[in-house]
């Protein structure tokens, strides 16, 4: 299978795990989408470094775009890439993050270290976070 095919299957699998198997329903929660937006922003930066410098290189046969060139960075945006990384990487990252959170929340549900729970933020960051 190609990376494209695997990435699509991966996304469908984690969606099914979240909604029907573990029933964590993270994908229906505001807290997930807001934190995922933050994660995806930083993913584009870090993955951009990994793929833009050619630390990780891809085979054009496995992705929508073309192979990582030998001695130059890949396309910044376009040719199936976003910030140097193949768009498949976004799907891969989605799978990684969602699977992680499904397990984390499931464990909490079972009572595995539900405490000490998260928050509240320290007073010193209230203004920064827009908390009155």
């Amino acid at each position: 299978m190609t990376y494209t095919q695997l990435a699509i299957i991966g996304v469908l699998v984690v969606i099914a795990l979240d909604l029907y198997v573990f029933k964590t329903c993270l994908l229906k929660r505001k807290v997930f989408w807001v934190s995922y937006s933050i994660v995806i922003f930083f993913q584009l930066i870090t993955n951009g470094i990994l793929t833009g410098f050619g630390i990780v290189e891809y085979d054009g046969a496995a992705i929508i775009g073309s192979s990582t060139p030998e001695n130059s960075p890949p396309t910044f945006i376009g040719d199936g890439r976003l910030v140097f990384a193949p768009i498949e990487d976004l799907m891969f990252g989605f799978c990684l993050v969602v699977l992680t959170l499904i397990i984390w929340i499931s464990l909490g549900r079972k009572g595995v270290q539900r405490e000490p729970k998260s928050g509240p933020p320290r007073k010193s960051v209230h203004r920064f976070l827009g908390i009155k």
Binding site: M1, Y3, V34, I38, E57, G108, S118, G119, P120
Partner: protein, 111 residues
């Protein structure tokens, strides 16, 4: 750029999220057992994907930028660490948003 390029990116991810544990009191590292139980299966699942992708040649690593230490199925140790670091960052971000906004996440105590 050196053999530690990949590792430096991971270190940057850890450093960039570490402050959340203190300032937003995410208590993610403090819930060590839960964190380990979460990360272990994720590492296993994604190592299998990685092993397949490496075997099929989907992706490859520039030997100049990784440590050169490989684990099972030719997976660079850098990649294994990636599968540990990124989940930690994801949980920290998630719990940070939760801390700041008090939104339900589904694992609250049921009355």
């Amino acid at each position: 750029m050196s053999k530690f390029a990949y590792l430096s990116v991971l270190l940057g991810c850890l450093a960039g999220t570490a402050w959340l544990e203190y300032f937003l009191r995410t208590n993610v590292y403090r819930r060590t057992i839960r964190l380990i139980y979460t990360v272990v299966p994720v590492v296993i699942v994604f190592s299998i994907w990685d092993a397949y992708a490496i075997a099929q040649g989907h992706w490859d690593f520039d030997a100049r930028y990784v440590t050169g230490i490989t684990t099972v199925a030719n997976i660079p140790i850098d990649e294994i660490l990636f599968f540990i670091v990124i989940p930690i960052c994801a949980i920290l971000s998630f719990e940070a948003v939760r801390s700041a906004r008090n939104w339900e996440a589904g694992d609250e105590e049921t009355k």
